[in-house]
């Protein structure tokens, strides 16, 4: 069969395109998709890492059933949900307010935004270690709290009640700069005429914020809600560095427990099953948000 010259050209340009993205596709296939599928397979097995590759028995859905009676799993799931439910709104509300304040009422906008952005691009390990010092009994954070009148503050990271909130505070602090950056770029594209019209109609600054800015920025907020939710559900590095899930299991989160059961307990099958549960949870949350957006996101 002969192709028409037009179709031949189209085919050729398509092939060229695929050739260009081929290295990337191979990478994704080899290092992301295949391992993902493999993890689905081994989530139905009792694979113990030390028994070597391929040495496992299929046990059906046993892993998926067992985890709900595993206290470590349920506790870490509750901790993860608590973590996300606080961190996501706190980050986004704080970022929105700060972004608007910087945009409207600040001199030296750029340096301030840069300063806010620094923690996000700093190495998370370094950030976490600095915060460990901040939280130590002689650290600046503890002293600040004391000077504000709380005479005997807890040993933040050494206290079962406060360890997770302390890490949450740090996470909000380090993520807020990123959200500010996204909001700022959106704010700069807002239609000026709408604000002028509102001003003529007598809307004060708060009303403009409440009725215009929040609405105009709703697509950005939607994007941020989805992405911060996913990242905060996957929190791992600060936990590993600051508390290793302790004291007790008070700051154990899902990804940290998946890591522990895979690489300390060597239960690869079980860990894979939990990873898939994590994936399903994230997928479900994202779908719910996707459907919910019709109610509050205006484009």
């Amino acid at each position: 069969m002969r192709l028409s010259p037009h179709k031949a050209r189209l085919l050729k340009s398509n092939l060229t395109g695929y050739a260009f993205i081929l290295p990337n596709i191979i990478g994704v296939l080899l290092f992301t998709l295949l391992p993902m599928l493999y993890s689905l397979v081994i989530s139905f097995t009792d694979w113990d890492y030390t028994r070597g590759f391929g040495n496992y028995n299929f046990i059906g859905l046993q892993n998926f059933i067992d985890m709900w009676s595993d206290e470590w799993f349920t506790d870490s799931l509750v901790n993860t949900i608590f973590f996300s439910v606080v961190v996501v709104p706190a980050t986004i509300i704080l970022a929105l307010v700060i972004a608007v304040l910087i945009d409207r009422y600040c001199f030296a906008k750029l340096p301030i935004r840069l300063a806010m952005f620094m923690p996000y691009i700093s190495n998370v390990v370094a950030v976490a270690i600095v915060w460990v010092m901040m939280y130590s009994p002689w650290g600046p954070f503890t002293q600040l709290v004391q000077s504000l009148g709380w005479e005997n503050p807890p040993q933040w990271l050494g206290d079962p009640t406060w360890a997770l909130p302390a890490i949450m505070l740090m996470t909000v602090w380090s993520n807020v700069g990123y959200a500010i950056m996204i909001y700022t770029s959106a704010i700069q594209g807002l239609p000026k005429d709408a604000y002028e019209a509102a001003e003529i109609d007598g809307a004060n600054a708060f009303q403009q914020f409440r009725y215009l800015t929040i609405n105009f920025l709703s697509p950005t907020t939607f994007f941020l809600v989805i992405t911060t939710f996913i990242t905060s559900f996957q929190v791992f590095a600060p936990i590993q560095i600051m508390t290793r899930g302790g004291p007790g299991s008070s700051s154990n989160v899902l990804v940290y427990y998946i890591y522990t059961s895979a690489f300390s307990f060597y239960k690869m099958g079980y860990a894979s099953a939990m990873s898939w549960i994590l994936f399903i949870i994230l997928f479900a949350i994202t779908m719910v948000q996707w459907h919910g957006q019709k109610k509050w996101v205006s484009y």
Partner: protein, 444 residues
């Protein structure tokens, strides 16, 4: 001009392409001829603390036999061991390596990561019991030798002899939990930043070895287990040990609390060697005692046996064998690796003795070992108690035999222990909970 730049760039890029592989192959060939076999040896000790000197010695002695050993350090924590095991499972990147605990050893033997040495041992008449007694058999897995234990893990309380002298307390040779607690109280003084504690438990590093040391002397080598399917966390000795630590941290104030240790990331070097505690738990920091550049101090360090539960309850000597040398079954040079293992175990360890590791083979001269151990720290280590507590082998060690789900059981213990030390539950309550949780895991 444009052409010149283009030509220059091309030449530079070409030369990079050509030179890089040359340089790479050049570096890997230095010192190795055609017929030299290179053995890659992985261990957890920093090379400068002895292993490099030991390996150099071997390379010198065995140059004419065409064997060369290269030492690589992995950090002996979860991540480091994972790196090692990934290497072992995926091929022959490692020929000889160290395993540090019995439970990990069992996993590696059963997971085909360690070579069954039965045949090599039989062929060469290298029966391990002739070098280390019947205790060697405790390190067999399912009745077969998969490793050669090389180090004597015999520990005791590390103490600041100057502080003991100043308080008029003789270095103890036998003591119970109560006497130990009393002495720690006496040695505690000062307030705030100047406070000197009687004891430092080093609890932020690991809470399970505390149990190991205090309980094993009475109950034997499996302080966490009653049997394969039952944990021992309700045992009176275990509960008493937990109470001892809890009382010293939270009642007497004679040791830094667990929360302090965790939140301030305390270390034995930072507390004991800085003169902020009179005693500490683990003599594996002998290396740092000698390192007065980094840890300046001038007091004499002595050693005492770990306290026991009650008078007459010292049934075993805390200790056993460690630094278990294994051979990767996938190695292409098993014969040469075996040669190195034999050499290291029987005569190659003197350089690592200087770093604080005592050999367990009887092929070494005890005086030579003591001298090497004290070398560079003659003024800082009390030679008599060093020899008696850390070097002279005993004949009644508590040998471990159970490793069932040990990582999970340790984690359960650590969590409940932390909750106890933070004052959220009493030792009796916490250990009852630990037993319930651990038993559920063991009976799976």
């Amino acid at each position: 001009m444009k052409h010149l730049i283009k030509i220059l760039t091309t030449v530079m890029l070409l030369s990079l392409v050509i030179v890089t592989p040359l340089a790479a192959s050049g570096s890997s060939e230095t010192g190795t001829g055609e017929d030299v076999v290179t053995i890659r040896f992985w261990g957890g000790v920093p090379p400068e603390a002895g292993p490099q000197a030991s390996v150099d010695l071997f390379n010198e002695q065995f140059a004419d036999q065409g064997i060369r050993v290269e030492y690589e350090r992995f950090v002996n924590d979860d991540t480091g061991n994972l790196k090692l095991e990934t290497n072992l499972l995926s091929g022959d990147g490692v020929d000889v390596y160290m395993t540090y605990t019995s439970d990990v050893m069992a996993k590696r033997a059963e997971g085909n990561m360690a070579l069954d040495l039965t045949d090599l041992i039989a062929r060469d008449g290298f029966d391990l019991t002739q070098y280390g007694g019947t205790l060697m058999e405790s390190y067999y897995i399912n009745g077969r030798p998969y490793c050669v234990p090389t180090k004597l893990d015999q520990y005791g309380i590390v103490l600041n002899k100057d502080m003991f002298d100043a308080a008029g307390i003789p270095v103890p040779t036998e003591w119970t939990f109560d006497e130990f607690r009393e002495i720690a109280k006496q040695l505690t003084h000062g307030e705030g930043q100047d406070k000197v504690y009687g004891m430092f438990w080093n609890s932020q590093q690991d809470l399970t070895y505390v149990l190991q040391y205090l309980v094993a002397q009475t109950n034997g080598g499996d302080p966490m287990y009653k049997s394969e399917t039952e944990s021992a966390f309700d045992d009176p000795v275990v509960v008493a040990a937990v109470e001892l630590i809890n009382n010293m941290m939270n009642v007497d104030g004679s040791s830094p609390t667990h929360a302090d240790s965790v939140t301030q990331k305390l270390s034995q070097e930072g507390v004991f060697l800085a003169g902020k505690s009179a005693m500490t738990i683990g003599p594996w920091m002998v290396r740092s005692i000698k390192d007065t550049d980094n840890y300046p101090h001038n007091f004499v360090t002595a050693f005492a046996p770990y306290p026991v539960y009650a008078e007459g309850q010292r049934n075993y000597t805390q200790g056993g064998y460690g630094d278990m040398l294994c051979i990767n079954p996938k190695s292409e040079h098993i014969e040469e690796a075996w040669t190195f293992v034999k050499w290291y175990a029987t005569e190659g360890m003197l350089p690592v003795v200087e770093g604080g590791r005592v050999p367990c083979f009887n092929t070494y001269d005890p005086q030579e070992v003591t001298d090497a151990f004290l070398k560079g720290g003659e003024e800082l280590l009390d030679s008599e108690t060093t020899k008696k507590i850390l070097i002279e082998p005993a004949d009644n060690y508590a040998a471990p035999s159970i490793t069932n789900h040990s990582a999970e059981v340790k984690r359960v213990f650590t969590e409940e222990m932390e909750t106890i030390l933070l004052g959220e539950q009493t030792p009796v309550e916490g250990m009852a909970k630990a037993k319930e949780r651990a038993d559920a895991i063991l009976q799976q």
